[in-house]
Amino acid sequence: MIKSLLVANRGEIAIRVMRTARRMGIKTFAVRTSKEPSEPYLSEADEVIDFPPSAEDIPEFLDIETIVSIAKQHHIDAIHPGYGFLAENPYFAKRCEEENIIFIGPSPDAIYKMGNKTIAKQLAGKHNIPLLQGSYSSIRSFQEAEAIAEKIGYPVILKAAAGGGGRGMRVVERKEDLERLYKTASKEAEKAFKDASLFIEKYVRNPRHIEFQIVGDRHGNYVHLGERECSIQRKHQKLIEEAPSVALTPELRERMGADAIKVAKAVNYYSLGTVEFLLDSDNNYYFMEMNTRIQVEHPVTEMVTGFDLVELQIRIANGEPLSIRQEQVNIKGWAIECRINAEDVQANFAPSLGVIEKVIFPQGEGIRIDTGIREGTEITPYFDSMIAKLIVYAGNREKAIENALQALRNFNIKGIKTTIPFCKAVLSNTAFREGRFNTSFIESELKELFYREADEELLAAWHAAQTHLKELKEETFRQPDYEKGKNLSPWVLNKRIQAL
């Protein structure tokens, strides 16, 4: 039985995990790093452990041995990795096992097999899951990539064999671009995952991104909790997600859900997992990959199914059998998640660094905010740019969109720029509202990347004019003191300008 839990993560997901753990009567531990000495996730924990000074030049939440030793020192039963960092590191899961710490997640073997996209594809192929044509093993040279691309035809996509989250991923439209993009992708993969190997596959133009949430226990029971649609992406980063998806019929949902479970069974999977598919415009679907962790967008599934996914994760880690059967899973209503990132949409989504001076979160029925920030939080380049998730639940999609738009209008942040105007632009777009969208939505449908409210520019101009007027007025009362006390009349100033 898990009585104590170390959360090897930070920010909103650390808070999210600790809340459920606390409710289940589990003592929670958080890790404090020098980069964030007093962030909200620390106040959420029953106990805070300072990360010991280390000579290693690796980020704290990636430091396997130190995290394992912290857990041992404090006699903590289990570690929850959250998402990112060590969540999908099979070696970390293995080290926990070796030290008799419960890793809240699947087995090291399942993480390894699904984490390696080539092995994952081979396994899926063996179980007759639809797949895209491409390399079934990692490629290590540009020449190899070129030969395969020639065979399957352009466009192709390069992906980091060990990767995720859009890093080390490039779409190649033409033969001429392959060499350059191969290099940048493999460099990025090397940097991010310490593994430069890539694989290559046929690129489906304008697919929808549909993923299935699956749950399995250690006794061979599996259910799927329906799908999430994550087609609103920019550079392969998800920005808005929803559950369910307008693209799926009950029949298609059943088939895809059954295939998702087949993928999980292929590696004797237990814990939470997500099986990602591409869905083309003819409703053909293809297995992409399986994520062996809790995902950023998990709340939309929680909203439409009513299950607490972290609780399921912890119970499975305890060895308890699944208490739900497939027929008990009812998808009810609609949920949408908007990721609020500290990014300047008007500057091509560049990171917006700074201090959050003030923040007002929207409130109301069906509104959930998962966040790790508060007033005074500094947005640094050390971590990813997501500062909050707005999740809105309503009886149907139309209502959910409407309520989400209203919530975004009531979401005020001072000090940094955020993706709020972008989310508003998507939610008010007609094609999006009608459900006609796919992963190319931002490039092809969204004419303006940020939403302008009625009269917004006029009011901004009015404010600039007012401020300027006030300044001019103050200036006339002020004695200008240029150049050692000598007053300068506008006539002299004009003369000087002319003489420049």
Binding site: T184, K358, N412, K414, E457, A460, H463, H468, L469
Partner: protein, 165 residues
Amino acid sequence: MIVVSSSGNKFEFEIEGDEIVRCNGNEIKDIHLIEEDGFTFVEKEGTKYSLEIQDQSQNKYTVLINNVSYTFSVETPFSYKRRKMLNQQKQASKTVVISAPIPGKIVDILVEENQQVREGDVVIVLEAMKMQNEIASHVSGKVKKISVKKNDTVMKDDVMIEIER
């Protein structure tokens, strides 16, 4: 009269006394600022938008409203005359700089000095937030100077390359 212009729009505000009374000929009234919970809101007919002055230098104002930035130049009749004069004197610069849009590390430089580049050509690969960002030239011309080396760390707005049109 005070003229406020952004890249796309022009607002001509008429002033009576200390008050702005008209914009582009249309009467405007009942706009006020409200300070609440540490935010400044502008209110008009029941609609409330949060706003702040993000940046100001001389007569250039950047206003952030609903988290969207607008940059305006504010002109009074006097400042308009002065600017016109200054513009006549200033020589049109022929050199265009490519500066870092975000802080990061230079991982690759794809051009050499004196090389011709076309608009849209990738000149630098900049790594930031663990992403490799391809920085393209926004003009066509000749590379005049490269001010960075591979593996250099750059701050936002640091000049990386100068291009002569």
